[in-house]
């Protein structure tokens, strides 16, 4: 079976004429697509005209400002593969180049067999990214389910939401929106585990003993040791469809609207030790609503359709 693939597309910036010819012969001999420029000014011009799988930059021969240019490229295109060619191999120089956005380093004299392996790996990885992005473009509906138990209370900060991460990666949510959403889900799960499943009353947080410990914490500890409470689960369903992201968090308690203290009204009271979870959730999404006596919370976030257009050019 044969597989048709696009050849790597490379941009070389190198101030030395002989070196440019050597690289050119090497690229040409492998049938790769390439452009070669002599300095950072023409590098910037080439990048304005097109995109490349890989940039190879000789940081010495292309001029002293080349590292600065690499940093600017990295800031604009964080996923751009950049191989820096440097005559030195000191730790400090290497560190500076990596911090400037280099994804790999190449020392002179050039080991062309090693360079070929690196270019093939980068090209292969970029083709896979392009396939993933192309397939995700056609996803109009996606769902994922998560399940939490009381044992997860200790490390809820590590809650991972791949669906949200992908929406951030695709530019449909900003990093800040993604962070807020993750925290909103974390707050909802925490509410479900503590107020729902463990049936802890938020008013107990206000009852503080002289050693600084509160009644809420001691009751929480006792109920975590009681299988009747501790074995209950919280489920999370995330679904994305037509720019609408919906998160439904459901616990197995009786519901705080039955009289137990839950996230209350969600009004912001600076002095209260509770009630802020709902405020944080509300700030992350467009709508929050409760069902099943409070044992189910639905959060809805509308994604900006124009961001989708920018991401996909459609």
């Amino acid at each position: 079976m044969s597989v048709s693939v696009h050849p790597p597309n490379i941009l070389l910036v190198d101030g030395n004429e002989q070196s440019r010819q050597t690289f050119g012969s090497f690229f040409k001999g492998r049938g790769w697509s390439y452009d070669i420029v002599p300095d950072r000014t023409s590098l910037a011009g080439a990048l304005e005209r097109g995109t490349y799988d890989i940039i190879i930059a000789d940081v010495e021969m292309a001029g002293p400002e080349t590292v600065k240019t690499l940093r600017e490229i990295h800031e604009k295109r964080p996923s751009q593969a950049i191989i820096a060619v440097s005559p030195t191999s000191s730790y400090e120089d290497a560190l500076q180049l990596f911090r400037s956005g280099a994804t790999d380093l190449l020392a002179r004299p050039i080991d062309f067999s090693w360079l070929e392996r690196v270019i093939q790996q980068v090209a292969s990885s970029r083709r896979k990214d392009a396939r993933d992005k192309a397939s995700y473009r056609h996803v109009t509906r996606e769902e994922m389910d998560l399940c939490f138990t009381s044992a997860d209370l200790a490390d809820l900060d590590s809650v991972s939401l791949p669906l949200v991460s992908r929406l951030v990666d695709e530019g449909m949510l900003s990093q800040n929106e993604g962070l807020k959403l993750r925290l909103a889900v974390q707050e909802a799960v925490l509410n479900g585990l503590e107020h729902g499943n463990l049936e802890l009353d938020s008013k107990w947080k206000e009852e503080i003993a002289t050693d600084g410990a509160d009644r809420f914490s001691s009751m929480r500890k006792a109920r975590l040791a009681d299988p009747e409470y501790a074995s209950r689960r919280v489920t999370v369903r995330l679904s994305f469809s037509d720019f609408r992201l919906e998160v439904v968090v459901k616990d197995q308690g009786g519901g705080f609207l039955n009289g137990r203290g839950g996230p209350e009204s969600g009004r912001i009271d600076s002095l209260s030790c509770s009630g802020r979870g709902l405020a944080l959730m509300s700030s992350a999404v467009d709508e929050v609503r409760f069902g099943s006596n409070g044992s189910e919370v639905t959060m809805i976030k509308w994604l900006d359709a124009s961001k989708n257009k920018e991401a996909y050019g459609s």
């Binding site: 200790a154 900060d157 912001i268 600076s270 802020r276 944080l280």
Partner: protein
Amino acid sequence: MEFPIQIEGEKGYIRVTSDLDTETAGEALRSAFNEVYDQGKRTIVLDLSGAQIINSYGIGKVLMCYKRLKAENGVLMVKPLDGFVKETFELLMLDKLLPVDES
């Protein structure tokens, strides 16, 4: 997890060196606060520059510190905030409650 404390004159400082979004971090704050409080300091400054994220759990712990000090006419202050932590304090109006220590 332990948060370092420092005493300077009448003030006690607590440097929060991790995100304030877990039980462990909350307990570290409570423990550091108790240590400063037990040395008789009633003006305590939280340096939250080491925290990028704070959730309702962390906020609850901060407010417990605030209340214990207020009960004895003390004051809980914060070093200048930034990023998500600042945004969260403003959202929950905690910036009106906790004065900023500019020293």
